[in-house]
């Protein structure tokens, strides 16, 4: 047992080392200094209270999106539509939030939270029904609905709910009572961050400490065996669908009410897709996703700092680095996993 977990950590370190070596080579090839760049990544993400708080603000949607993907993945339900559910969750959060401004925060915030989760679930409902009732593979319906969601939000933020006084394609600012409270003055470090961490622990608890979680994992590991063992696989899939859509909606909500306080066109730089990478990096374990999301957002914030710094490393290279890290970790992990299996 000890051996196995040691190998797991080793695979992580090896994967990250391999991708950093590869990335340094790319940087060198384009005439950047790899040492100062990598230093810049670290100081650019945790170098000050402000930067560290920004890293955690960005971690929140990554983490919630990763949880949304992985909880469904554990029952072998591939929800590639986290991005779209996140947009609709954000839209619902805005629509409800803009109506409940007269209520005190204690009443307004829970309403907004519930609305966003409902929005996410609503956007997953059709693919979920298609899977349960018609046995249509969910990958494509969920993926396609992302683009429809994006078009809907683009349409609304450019017209019907656009702030007429703003030159940007975005809504007016939400009433203050719907803002998630700030915990560290002078930063955007808000309650949403704690909320997301609690959700990670909650997903861990549901997956590993409840009968439902056991059934979900059994359905994912071997649907046929689970079914004949008395597990209702369809029920597990509906359960993870509801959790997944809800978590994705919440991921949109924390951006709108926690960080930006309005709904802007294209506000998500692909949180839903990157959440899948984060979930993979965290080995599809909720607590692994917690660690992976911090790493991932540190890379993003560090990458943005780098782009602004004297070295002026373009942000696209940071995306390349993120994808390379996840790929290398997965490859090394698979290799080490295969080797241990063969030895037994």
């Amino acid at each position: 047992m000890m051996q196995v977990s040691l190998r797991k950590y080793l695979s992580y370190l090896l994967g990250i080392a391999a991708s950093l070596a590869l990335f340094s080579a790319i940087l060198l090839a384009f005439g950047y200094d790899p040492i100062t760049s990598l230093e810049g990544l670290v100081s650019g993400s945790f170098g000050s209270t402000f930067l560290a708080s920004e890293t955690f603000v960005l971690m929140t949607p990554f983490l919630l999106a990763a949880l949304a993907f992985l909880v469904a993945f554990r029952a072998r339900f591939y929800n590639v539509g986290v991005e779209g559910q996140l947009y609709i969750g954000a839209l619902f959060a805005y629509l409800v939030g803009s109506q409940v401004g007269t209520l005190p925060s204690v009443a307004a915030i829970p309403l907004v939270v519930l609305a966003s989760a409902a929005g996410g679930i609503l956007w997953l409902a059709l693919p979920l029904l298609m899977r349960i009732k018609l046995q249509v593979n969910e990958i494509f319906p969920t993926l396609v609905m992302n683009f429809i969601a994006l078009d809907v939000v683009n349409w609304l933020t450019a017209g019907p709910i656009k702030d007429p006084n703003s030159g940007n394609l975005q809504t007016p600012i939400l009433p203050r009572s719907t803002w998630l409270p700030i915990l560290i003055q002078g930063t955007r470090f808000n309650v949403g961050i704690i909320f997301a961490i609690v959700m990670a622990i909650g997903v861990f608890f549901v997956l590993y400490k409840t009968v439902l979680g056991y059934e979900i994992r059994a359905s994912g590991a071997n649907p046929r065996a689970a079914q004949s063992g008395g597990v209702d696989v369809s029920r597990s899939i509906i359960a993870v669908g509801l959790m997944s859509g809800g978590l994705a909606g919440l991921a949109g909500m924390v951006v709108v009410t926690g960080a930006e306080h309005l709904l802007a066109q294209n506000f998500s730089p692909g949180y839903g897709y990157q959440g899948i990478a984060v979930a993979a990096l965290g080995t599809f374990h909720p607590l692994g996703a917690l660690i992976a999301s911090v790493l991932y957002s540190a890379l993003s914030i560090g990458g943005e700092s780098l782009q602004r710094s004297a070295a002026a490393i373009p942000i696209e290279l940071t995306y390349v680095l993120q994808a390379t890290i996840v790929l290398s970790v997965l490859i090394v992990q698979k290799w080490l996993g295969d080797r241990t299996r063969r030895r037994r």
């Binding site: 017209g159 990478a277 790929l327 698979k334």
Partner: protein, 295 residues
């Protein structure tokens, strides 16, 4: 017909049992490569060739991580999408620092007599050469898939790899080749978008604009058949041009000036409705997404 090239490629990859979700990114990178090479060399042929090489390189990467290493195909594909999109945008930024690459799209080839037919004439017989090529590729590869031993081997590998292996077929070799072929065709698709129509590149996946994802939906719509992919690509291509026409004509202006965004959703709504209507028979190759390891 960029969607057609990409979807035939995806048909082959999926028939052999490998899902490539990264073709949107493959198209993006090869679109940039074809633009840059055509711009610097002045040769469409070099541009097309370079795009195929770029596609092949990403195909080798995808084949390596999914067939050889065996990591989850969905996740590998999405990572390749991020990776190749990042590389393309970075390279574009580097290039535009010193120049602004732009090429003149390929001229239309008018087929005499046929292109003068009313209504269908200009649509079917007055296109650039790559459009005709895409039809030819679809038909030739359809013949390969259904009428040759190679095609039989590919289908066997995708349906029942154990049996194929027992029959002496090298399962993983067939899969590697199909994945690489699929990526090369996605490369051609990216190139045909640039040198066939647009003549330029835009960062942030606004150029390919979802055609790679749509190609994957076309594969389902076509039930993994290269022939039916022709009809599917045409239909979804129609979705794109309908959206463009409606936005241009202002038919929906009563919905507000921003309704154009909503019309962009038309191809995707098309896709969803088709999946709802034609869900029967949308049975994928049995071992799609399942890596094969010899016992």
């Amino acid at each position: 017909m960029p969607i057609l090239f990409a979807s035939i490629g995806e048909v082959f990859a999926e028939r052999s049992g490998v899902l490539n979700m990264g073709i949107e990114g493959v198209m993006g990178l090869s679109a940039f490569v074809s633009l840059w090479v055509t711009f610097t060399t002045g040769s469409y042929l070099y541009g097309l060739g370079a795009a195929m090489v770029a596609g092949a390189a990403l195909g080798v990467l995808h084949a390596f991580v999914t067939v050889k290493v065996g990591i989850n195909q969905l996740i590998a594909g999405l990572l390749i999408y991020t990776l190749s999109g990042g590389i393309a945008d970075f390279a574009y930024r580097k290039v535009t620092a010193t120049s602004f690459p732009i090429v003149r799209p390929l001229p239309s080839v008018h087929i005499p007599i046929l292109s003068d037919l009313p209504a269908v004439g200009p649509i079917l017989f007055s296109q650039n050469i790559l459009v005709y090529a895409s039809f030819a590729v679809a038909i030739v590869l359809g013949l390969v898939l259904y009428r040759t031993t190679w095609g039989l081997n590919i289908r066997a590998v995708g349906e029942n790899p154990e049996a194929a292996d027992a029959a002496g077929i090298n399962v993983n070799l067939v899969r590697n080749l199909c994945v690489i072929l699929g990526a090369v065709l996605a490369g051609v698709a990216g190139a045909s978008l640039v040198i066939g129509y647009l003549g330029l590149y835009n960062a942030g996946d606004t150029l390919v604009a979802g055609r790679g994802w749509i190609a994957i939906v076309v594969v389902i719509f076509a039930r993994w058949s290269p022939y039916k992919a022709i009809a599917g690509s045409w239909l979804f291509g129609l979705g794109y041009s309908m959206a463009a026409t409606f936005i241009g004509s202002g038919v929906f202006s009563s919905l507000g000036p921003s309704a154009g965004y909503f019309l962009l959703a038309i191809p995707y709504i098309f896709a969803l409705v088709f999946m709802l209507v034609f869900h029967r028979g949308t049975k994928s190759p049995s071992s799609l997404t399942v890596p094969y390891k010899r016992k």
